[in-house]
């Protein structure tokens, strides 16, 4: 491999700043990406990686800051500008036209003339050349919609190369790939580097960073927090940098007094739409009076786990036991049945699943319990009872403003969440499933919700807490499960856990590996 030339960097970003309303997505981001290298950008969801790349590709314009390509300052206002300076992008969600052939997809926007025939012949030649050079193994006449995901991704790469891209950005490229396809992708990236191309790889999978990159930038909360040569760092350090030490959450709580098993998952298996195993023989138990935290980088099966336990999806095999009742693929649960069994669910995505944003608070506070005889007659709802109930919930959980008829959309995120939590806790559930309880919630509301969860625990509720916030898990959980690639890879008592160890497990490096590099 040729040594990196000491020329100007392929990409230089200086002080890139971008706000979306109240969200400060990128603050003063500066990077220098060497020509002919593979550079990784890691960070949790919402760290600002994708925004930064969208700025580089011209989807957004930065509020301030400069971009220089190969030492020359450029202004990138739209994807066409980006293409002109040699930047190609492979999006997380492919931007392909399914009924078109590979050739047609690649030509779109670079047809080479008013009529297609001549352009098609030239494109075919060029594709053959690229095929010879990079060995992507894509049939130009195949219809894209019939290709497997990995091949579709290679079509996206070809699209960029066909347009003469010398800088290739890949946004979470391996999320949809099988391990074999991932290996193939990495071989392709290495070939690209060997031919002098510059590759930027955005991911939150640390093993991939270690496997294929030369340098790595770590982003957190919109800023670059670290820049390392890959050879001089390790997964443990990156995990720690990525998660960071956020606000310390302190919580006075008595030690748990676990009782009988309330919720048990036995060998749950589920494949997602892409056929990737989302739950891989997941088994664990939650006892009355304890909080079990599920830690993990998002997208490792936690969401699917919650959905299965809440009865929204049915596992392909395995069983869920709630207080003696069995939920199996043959006797699937549904959300109503699970509620009847005493399982309350605060979903991860409260705006989509937790409440109806266009409903009044009274109506959202009723969701899931609308068949309850206290609130509903044979035909009509008992409005007085419903309104009184909502008022009570708002008092107890300090939902502000106390306006039961206000549309949910007009409450802040924290108050929406308090309303959902109030609704689910009001029933004194035996089991509480709660996902990302404090996502997008202000600090005051976080404390409030945490205290309520501990109260429920002390009252004997079995709580399963899924959160990507490691601090939240550390503050609340009595026992911690770690999920990675759909498997439960760790099960430790809170007092035995520390962040570094959890970070290693989340990255699915065996603890022994981590110990040797520490």
């Amino acid at each position: 491999m040729a040594p990196a030339e000491p020329g100007p960097p392929a990409i230089e970003l200086r002080g890139i700043d971008k706000r979306f309303g109240a969200v400060h997505a990128n603050r003063a981001v500066s990077m220098q990406i060497a020509s002919g290298s593979i550079t990784g950008i890691v960070g949790e969801n919402g760290a600002g990686k994708s925004t930064l790349m969208s700025i580089l590709y011209g989807f957004y314009e930065a509020d301030s800051g400069e971009i220089a390509i190969n030492g020359r300052p450029v202004r990138i206002r739209n994807p066409r500008d980006a293409l002109r300076v040699g930047i190609g992008m492979v999006h997380q969600h492919f931007v392909l036209i399914d009924p078109f052939t590979v050739l047609e997809n690649i030509m779109l926007g670079a047809e080479g003339g008013v009529l297609l025939r001549r352009g098609k012949a030239l494109a075919r030649q060029e594709l053959q050349r690229l095929e010879g050079e990079y060995g992507l193994g894509v049939d130009p006449d195949a219809v894209v919609g019939t290709l497997p995901v990995g091949a579709q991704q290679r079509v996206e790469i070809l699209k960029a190369l066909y347009r003469g891209a010398e800088i290739l950005i890949l946004d979470e490229p391996t999320g949809v790939l099988t391990p074999q396809e991932t290996d193939q992708l990495f071989r392709i990236l290495q070939t690209l580097r060997a031919r002098g191309a510059t590759v930027i790889l955005i991911t939150h999978k640390l093993r991939e960073i270690m496997a294929v990159t030369d340098e790595v930038y770590v982003m957190r909360a919109g800023t670059v927090v670290a820049h390392r040569r890959t050879a001089e760092t390790d997964i443990g350090e990156l995990a720690e940098l990525m998660i960071g030490r956020k606000l310390r959450l302190e919580l006075d709580k008595a030690p748990a007094k676990p009782g009988a098993v309330r919720l048990m998952a036995n060998d749950l298996v589920l494949h997602d739409e892409r056929g990737v195993m989302a739950l891989d023989h997941v088994r664990f138990a939650v006892h009355a009076g304890e909080i079990v935290g599920v830690a993990g980088v998002s997208g490792n099966g936690q969401s699917e786990l919650l959905e299965v336990l809440a009865g929204m999806r049915t596992a392909e095999s395995g069983r869920v036991q709630v207080d003696g009742a069995d939920i199996t693929p043959l006797h699937p649960g549904d959300p109503a049945r699970m509620r009847a069994l005493g399982v309350a669910h605060v979903p991860e995505d409260r705006q989509r699943l937790g409440l109806v944003v266009s409903f009044a608070a009274t109506e959202s506070a009723l969701l899931g319990y609308q068949r309850d005889h206290a609130y509903s007659g044979p035909v009509l709802l008992h409005h007085h009872a419903i309104n009184r109930h909502c008022r009570t919930l708002m008092e107890e959980f300090d939902v502000r403003p106390r306006q039961p008829f206000l549309r949910c959309a007009n409450f802040s995120g924290g108050n929406q969440q308090k309303l959902v939590v109030a609704r689910e806790l009001a029933r004194r559930p035996k089991v509480l499933l709660i996902g990302q309880p404090t996502r997008g919630v202000d600090i005051g509301a976080i404390e409030f919700i945490h205290r309520r969860l501990v109260e429920q625990r002390d009252a004997g509720c079995a709580i399963l807490l899924v959160s990507v916030e490691l601090d939240e898990i550390m503050a609340l959980a009595d026992r911690i499960l770690v999920m990675s690639d759909g498997r439960v890879v760790g099960d430790v008592a809170r007092r035995d856990a520390d962040e570094r160890m959890l970070g290693l497990m989340m990255a699915n490096a065996r603890p022994a590996d981590g110990a040797s590099t520490a």
């Binding site: 989807f59 992008m89 036209i97 399914d98 009924p99 078109f100 047609e104 779109l108 926007g109």
Partner: protein, 323 residues
């Protein structure tokens, strides 16, 4: 025998004449819908153009100027639809229905105001219309058995717009499948984001498609009032825009199959005209309404199971917003 042959021939000839506006409208709809803009306003655009063409013809006595006026009216209406659905991200069905209602009323109001004949235009003189063209030598070989009548009545004997409509089909097919514009058009109807990331303006692409659609419905409208008939009458489009839409769906948004569907529907219509008041032995007189309803019934039945699923362009009907 000779008579029966002539009747078949004349029915087929009528089929072509009746199908002409359907074909033009179906091709118009094809451009619009393949680009992602649903168009239920074919009917209204055609009616507006029919009135515009007849009104201008009544004043200028020039068929060509009248045709141009018809096209212009339809393009203006198409641009209204485009503005509502492309620029303003409005609901495309609502906008299309609005155009249908608007033209249905407006043509009558303007007709009464301008011509004082109860919403109709005065009968148009020959020079203000497109008249059937006799093919060279038709009279000379008219007496040749079999071929003579075919040449005179089936191939020949139509006005110029009929030939324009027939030529529009291969042209449409060619534009959509073999040109850069066609490739981008299809892409915009399937996945506009892909078009956008390729650095092409989705809005401008769709506006062009919608204007093409307008031009073709304009020709169809002019055909109704200054070629097939000699003047405008109220609601003279009589649902043909909707039949054309059915033919387009029937043909799965492709030019040649859509032509087939138009000819089939046109044939049923031609037969319906011929069967009026005729007793069929053993059955009696078939109600005209029954045959007139056939195209619609046929579309529903065939789409429900016989020709497979008609998959619309994936992005059609969805306003495209840049994120």
């Amino acid at each position: 025998m000779q008579d029966a042959y002539l009747i078949v021939l004349l029915t087929l000839s009528a089929t072509i004449r009746v199908s002409t506006p359907l074909i033009l409208c179906a091709m118009a709809g094809l451009f619009s819908e393949r680009s992602g803009i649903v168009d239920v306003g074919l009917e209204g655009k055609m009616l507006g153009a029919a009135f515009g063409a007849a009104a201008v013809s009544a004043v200028t006595h020039s068929a060509v100027i009248a045709l141009a006026a018809g096209i212009l009216v339809a393009i203006m209406l198409a641009l209204i639809h485009g503005f509502a659905s492309i620029t303003q991200h409005g609901n495309q069905v609502v906008s299309g229905v609005a155009i249908n209602i608007l033209t249905s009323g407006l043509t009558i109001v303007l007709g009464i105001a301008w011509f004082h004949q109860g919403g109709e235009t005065p009968p148009l003189p020959q020079e203000g219309r497109f008249m059937p063209i006799a093919l060279p030598g038709a009279a000379r070989i008219a007496h040749v058995p079999v071929l003579g009548p075919i040449y005179a009545h089936l191939i020949g004997g139509h006005n110029i717009i009929v030939y324009v409509a027939l030529a529009a089909v291969p042209l449409t097919h060619w534009i959509v499948s073999a040109t850069r514009f066609g490739l981008r058009l299809r892409a915009a109807g399937e996945n506009p984001q892909a078009v956008d990331t390729a650095g092409i303006s989705v809005a401008w692409l769709r506006y062009r498609a919608v204007m093409l659609c307008g031009a073709l419905t304009g020709i169809a409208g002019a055909y109704l009032s200054i070629a097939q008939n000699a003047g405008f009458t109220r609601d003279m489009s009589a649902g043909q825009g909707f039949i054309a839409l059915a033919a387009l769906i029937f043909g799965k948004w492709r030019a040649w199959p859509a032509l087939g569907a138009c000819l089939l529907f046109g044939f049923l219509d031609a037969v319906a005209i011929r069967l009026q008041g005729i007793d069929i032995p053993g059955i009696g007189e078939i109600p005209v309404q029954f045959i007139q309803a056939l195209p619609y019934a046929l579309t529903v039945i065939l789409l429900a199971g016989f020709i497979g699923k008609a998959v619309a362009p994936r992005a059609s009907g969805i306003p495209y917003r840049k994120e």
